[in-house]
């Protein structure tokens, strides 16, 4: 597929990637389960956004659907852990 | 628990749910092809059949011109507050020493409608610098990144009031 990224696109992608790296750092470091879940949730949102942006770059409408589903799953995942933490599971 | 005082009649609530679901369906499909629309009507019909009872209490009653107006006002207001607060957080994060004074404070809300309370809570949460830890009755427990006061009255003024005054009008 012929890609025609402009500079702006690349800057945006780099920034998001950096954000993801920071999130991932927290995910690895923890130290608590809550921290990891929070980091994972942040990563979910960030990567959903990135997915949407990539959809634009690749001209793939489908990526939007994927991003939406991704966000939904991430959301429920956090709720699961949250409920587990408060002893509600 | 979250009992509605004055529920709309079942058919109304059903129709309302159906309509909302159908609109969301259109949002999902983003097309107006006949099969898609018909499928959407059918699917939202089924879904409304199962969920109208919990999905809405008042049905179309909530949709008044004034309500819509206040909603728009609320959203714009919220966005503005959010952006403002976000820059605030950006400042905190980017400052090497991180000038924060976190803590959990409380205030009493004047809202009675649970939906309104939820909107308030979410708004507080979405606004950087604060988030709702819990709601007990009318008491809101707020985690505040930079606590300036612990007095509930003051807290209410600083955190909740900008939202609540519009919300009171919205959910009148």
């Amino acid at each position: 597929m012929a890609l025609h990224f402009n500079l702006m696109d690349i800057i945006v992608l780099v920034i998001i990637t950096l954000a993801l790296i920071l999130d991932f750092y927290r995910f690895l470091k923890g130290p608590l389960a809550s921290d990891r879940v929070m980091a994972a949730d942040t990563m979910t949102v960030s990567s959903a956004a990135m997915l949407v942006f990539l959809g634009l770059l690749f001209d793939r409408y489908i990526y939007l659907d994927i991003a939406l589903i991704y966000a939904v799953l991430g959301f429920v995942g956090v709720i699961v852990v949250a409920r587990y933490l408060e002893g509600g599971v | 628990m979250e009992k509605q005082q004055q529920l709309a009649s079942k058919p109304i609530r059903f129709l309302y749910s159906w309509l909302v679901f159908f609109i969301v369906w259109l949002g999902f499909t983003t097309t107006l092809q006949i099969p898609e629309v018909l499928t959407g009507l059918f699917v939202s019909f089924l879904l409304a059949f199962f969920y109208y009872d919990t999905f809405t209490g008042w049905g179309f009653k909530g949709i008044k011109l004034s309500n819509i107006w206040w909603s728009i006002v609320y959203v714009l207001n919220f966005i503005w507050l959010m952006i403002k607060a976000n820059f605030n957080v950006a400042r905190i994060v980017l400052t090497p020493k991180m000038p924060i004074n976190p803590g959990i404070v409380e205030f009493e809300s004047k809202l009675t409608n649970p939906y309104a309370k939820m909107v308030l809570a979410n708004s507080i949460t979405l606004t950087p610098g604060t988030f709702t830890v819990d709601i007990i009755g009318n008491r809101f427990y707020i985690h505040w990144l930079d606590v300036t006061t612990v007095e509930p009255e003051q807290v209410y003024k600083e955190i909740a009031e900008p939202f609540e005054k519009i919300l009171l009008k919205m959910f009148n």
């Binding site: 597929m1 690749f58 001209d59 793939r60 409408y61 489908i62 | -």
Partner: protein, 129 residues
């Protein structure tokens, strides 16, 4: 070393590493939960390998969506520009199966824990010889 080679080493290496890590966890970890996690990791490694193998450079997802059709005009041309859909289909199956197995494994762990009051695999050895 070409880009493709780097990608090849990275992806194959990562996938096989995942498999090996999974196997290692299964073989050495004492905790049943960790063993099950090991199994899952193993599965993901295999799935990653499948997806990797299905990738064809410079080709697109195998969906003849309106935009794709608008771009390539004919089905044949579009088909020429797509990656191998089979590994994706297979992986979908493999994932679901892996999920099923993992669910059963966890259920077994729960029962073992209730029965033996431990999740240490070394202490669960009523059956031997």
């Amino acid at each position: 070393m070409s880009n493709l080679q780097i990608l090849q080493i990275t992806f194959y290496g990562a996938a096989i590493l995942l498999i090996a890590i999974g196997l290692y966890a299964v073989v050495t970890k004492r905790n049943l939960i960790k063993i099950v996690l090991g199994l899952s990791i193993m599965d993901s490694g295999v799935n990653l390998l499948f997806i990797t193998v299905g990738y064809i450079s410079h080709k697109t997802a195998p969906i003849f969506s309106p935009s794709v059709m608008a771009k390539y005009k004919t089905i044949h041309a579009a088909a020429q520009a797509m990656v191998d859909p089979v590994p994706q289909a297979l992986v979908l199956t493999a994932i679901v199966i892996g999920f099923g197995v993992t669910a059963v494994a966890l259920a077994l762990v729960v029962r073992l824990y209730r029965h033996h009051n431990t999740t240490n695999i070394d202490e669960i050895r009523n059956l031997k010889w």
